[in-house]
Subunit: 319 residues, 4 copies
């Protein structure tokens, strides 16, 4: 009996940027790709077992983090990231054959598509009504069904929905990239590659022990940050989740010890996955936490040697 194909959810319909990102991942090769009506439904489907994994955008080089995804990742039960992909974002304006810019009275797209082409739309379609669709591809589908005159979408959606590209490269910031992540229910993390990222979320509530103290736990172990962000905890005024992306893997001794330290000091620590860094993804930079020179003794061999020495000291077997 053949092993059943894995099912991976993504923001549908087909031809969204998320599907485009998902198709770059090896996990998508033999999988059934399941379009779902939003990022929260993707995370919910993973949690409830309707799919084995889900692909969601987490961060954009122009807009920053994707708030509902950050907030959704820290809900219960836990989810973990097992892979990331970074893809350039190229927006086009799609319409039915024969459409002219002058004739466009409504434009549909996902909120992010609208946000990243706001300047272009204001300049070229100042009179058009702008409509929010659940995805850029759904915006294109609305055009195909005649419910809107044009859509801001991916080039792929033109083909998918039988539309024409009315204007190309219409993003206000042309070099934008979006980072997508593949999430699953918790399991053994992917093996370390030596070039990994670990994603965390922390709360400290009213415990004595500041953000500075928590960042010190990372710094003393030579761990760099690539992103930090505070997000309000819903219904708890003035309490925050701190979302962190760090260099390293939970299987590394330094990261393991740092996570254990955060577990001791924080009110809550959510391990959100250790996974290989994608090509083109943000690198650890000095400005965010990397020491100017590599920290002496942060490698696995130094941890092993120290553990052996400590064991000897504790049982008296050293001379």
């Amino acid at each position: 009996m053949p092993r059943p194909r894995s099912r991976i959810g993504f923001l549908g319909p087909h031809a969204t940027f998320t599907e485009q990102a998902l198709r770059t991942l090896p996990e998508s090769e033999d999988a059934e790709l399941v379009p779902l009506p939003g990022n929260p439904p993707v995370l919910r489907a993973v949690r409830e077992g309707g799919v084995d994994a889900g692909c969601v955008p987490i961060e954009n080089s122009v807009e920053g983090a994707v708030p509902p995804v950050l907030d959704g990742l820290v809900e219960e039960p836990p989810l973990v990231i097992v892979r990331e992909a970074v893809i350039p974002v190229r927006f086009v304006l799609l319409g039915r054959a024969g459409t002219t810019l002058a004739g466009i009275r409504s434009v549909a797209s996902h909120g992010h598509g609208i946000a990243q082409t706001r300047g272009w739309i204001a300049a070229h379609l100042p009179e058009a009504e702008v409509r929010v669709a659940t995805s850029t591809s759904e915006g294109a589908a609305q055009v195909a069904r005649g419910e809107a005159d044009a859509a801001v979408s991916s080039p792929l959606a033109a083909e998918q929905h039988g539309l024409e590209v009315l204007a190309d490269d219409i993003a206000d910031n042309p070099g934008a990239v979006t980072r997508f992540v593949l999430v699953t229910r918790p399991g053994t993390p992917p093996p370390p590659t030596g070039h990994d990222r670990t994603t965390l979320a922390l709360t400290t509530e009213n415990r004595p022990g500041s953000l500075l103290g928590l960042l010190t736990e990372l710094a003393v172990r030579g761990i760099d940050l690539t992103r930090i962000e505070s997000r309000p905890i819903k219904d708890r005024h003035a309490d925050y989740w701190f979302h962190l992306d760090c260099s390293g893997h939970v299987a590394d001794p330094a990261m393991g010890e740092a996570l254990a330290a955060l577990h001791r000091r924080c009110d809550r620590v959510r391990f959100l996955g250790s996974y290989p860094r994608a090509v083109g993804a943000p690198e650890p930079v000095e400005g965010v936490g990397a020491p100017a020179v590599p920290l002496h003794g942060a490698d696995a061999a130094a941890y092993r040697a120290a553990a052996e020495w400590l064991a000897g000291v504790r049982n008296g077997e050293w001379t």
Copy 2:
């Protein structure tokens, strides 16, 4: 000749949440309130002198920071915050007289209004088309003009546009508050009240000196954080602006010395204002940086005494 009334820009048309917040500020009392078509236009009008001040939302307890406002504040030439207001956000569904939920095929609102009522709309108006308006009040205006069937808006907009409240309190998170700030061109900051906030943005680029080092400059001087957020610097992949809200005022010796230290160590420091903390605004919390006990010697008197002692040591006048 009477002094001309000051002009304050805000996201129009009238009856937006921003106007509601602005009207709670003493600066609005004798001012001409000028509706403008977006938050970036408000900031631009202040920069260009079309208005004397502008009111914009900066942070929401549910959605977090307002990205275009954070990004707009760090553009050139400089702007500073001189006041803040925190108001509860109460969303209602508005329609023309006689409209029933069953008959609603389109709903218009600002992106934030849509984001914060997404659950309610999905549950009660699953078939309705959702349209982005430039403000919640503009959404209501579209309903008044017959361009949409319903709007997610403030209660004030019903009166303003002659509409009926079809459903009240439809926000998915009922306790939400939004923090608004009044910005001007740089001038002498408002005098310290002893209960102030200072807003900053920093970049560190490739200088040796980590975020940890910068937070240490605040911590050693007893300054607490109330918010920290990294935002990508447009067109500079993997470089970030760090946006910080801190306790204290630039006129305080501790804050002055801390700002000077950041000026020395950062690539860029943007002073974004010192102003009184609003009632109901986020308080400094231990989790974000406050020491468990007040730092000894952080008050102005201790700074004065230390400066006098140092002057004596330097010129030899102590015995």
Copy 3:
């Protein structure tokens, strides 16, 4: 066949302060106490196996650390402290029967006895020649043999050497105490009592990684310092051993992790023992390193919980 009595070396002859301290320790009860001609000979005899343990002074509340003992402890092969005793130091002036102050032309004592009664001697015996003896008791022996007129010594030495107390309580600082330690060759440390001290010595040579970084490794794990001192490394100009006394026991998870971290970051770490704190010994004080409030999560239960959580995260067994 009865187990042979253990042999413990100390600075002789009998009736020194060191013997007095040693007799307060339970280890001395059935042991043979072996007088030796100096503190370095005591450490050497322990290293070479001539005795099973040795008792030496390490710190005095007036004079500070005892340099040759600190320097001797970091020599090879390793030694560890297994016990400490703190005793008040009461100096008396001893002489043969019939001696008067006016008739004293020479006074003998150990260097520490001389240093701590310098003021009294200058005031009362300004003309007397002051001679260094290898111990305070040896000074008394010289008096008994007629080689000196008086000795600065312990009250016990009067009895031991058949001398009279010519003047009592002659220390310049009457409340002085001296801390003595019992050292052995390395073995399993004494079990933790919950009220323990750990003694360390560190060198950092030219590694990037400052003293501040090393103290941070202790502070983040809630470990307090009770003493810190830099001692030049013989023959290595401008290199130092840092001698530290810390709160806690090597068997504690916090101390174990801290020691392993120092092992990774330092050029050399010498574990010099974990042992119960004596009554009257220096307590950890805020000024030297203790946080103002106990560090959250520094106890053994928090370490255990964190280790279990980490193991689950690493092998995927959490849901």
Copy 4:
């Protein structure tokens, strides 16, 4: 009327190591050098005005700090160091003409001379009585007067007291150097040379704020330590003076701000002088506190630029 010659006290009689060090300093050229009977009397004479300055040993590369000098420096009224000298220490054994080693029954020297030749004396003069003199030169004087058979002293003392060198280079650690300092009553410090040292003593008592916090005040301003030592505060059990030698000068903005910070946070700060580093003196080393790379923004120009920027921000004069 000619300006009176300045008077400089030192540990006498003539021909001590201290006089040798003092003669290397420019201040000694036209001065009257006044021998005094000990280091505490030298400090006292400076305090009381009997001399204008005093020269005392502060640190030895073999024995570490000189405790009575450290303790004397923090007494009242204040004294400051204005100059340092580092000289190699070469001990010789002196005797009257015709003396043989076999015939020596008593050896006199200062405690430091005895301590640093202990091994040689034990090997070559095991039977000799060792006597403490108030200085190495006084030990030689005793030999000249026939009160002792031999003295451990400087080569200079042979000439001074008409004695013969019986054995040369008898120090147990041949490369030893001693650092001497010239102290005066407080006045304007010597001008900065760009290669200066600042000496401090701090107490923290029971204030919340640890040694780590105080060292952080130095580190964030790029100031290195060259020495740290805790000395018990007399009569205050478990309280300590921390003695620090730092890189930099009180006239430097970075050092000034750091000193002011210590003044705010410590119970007591004693400024013990800023003065040029001597050739051959301990250099700041990474192990004791220097960052691996120079701290960005720690130079005087960066402080000036930051102060100007801050002034502009405070008075609103920036655009």
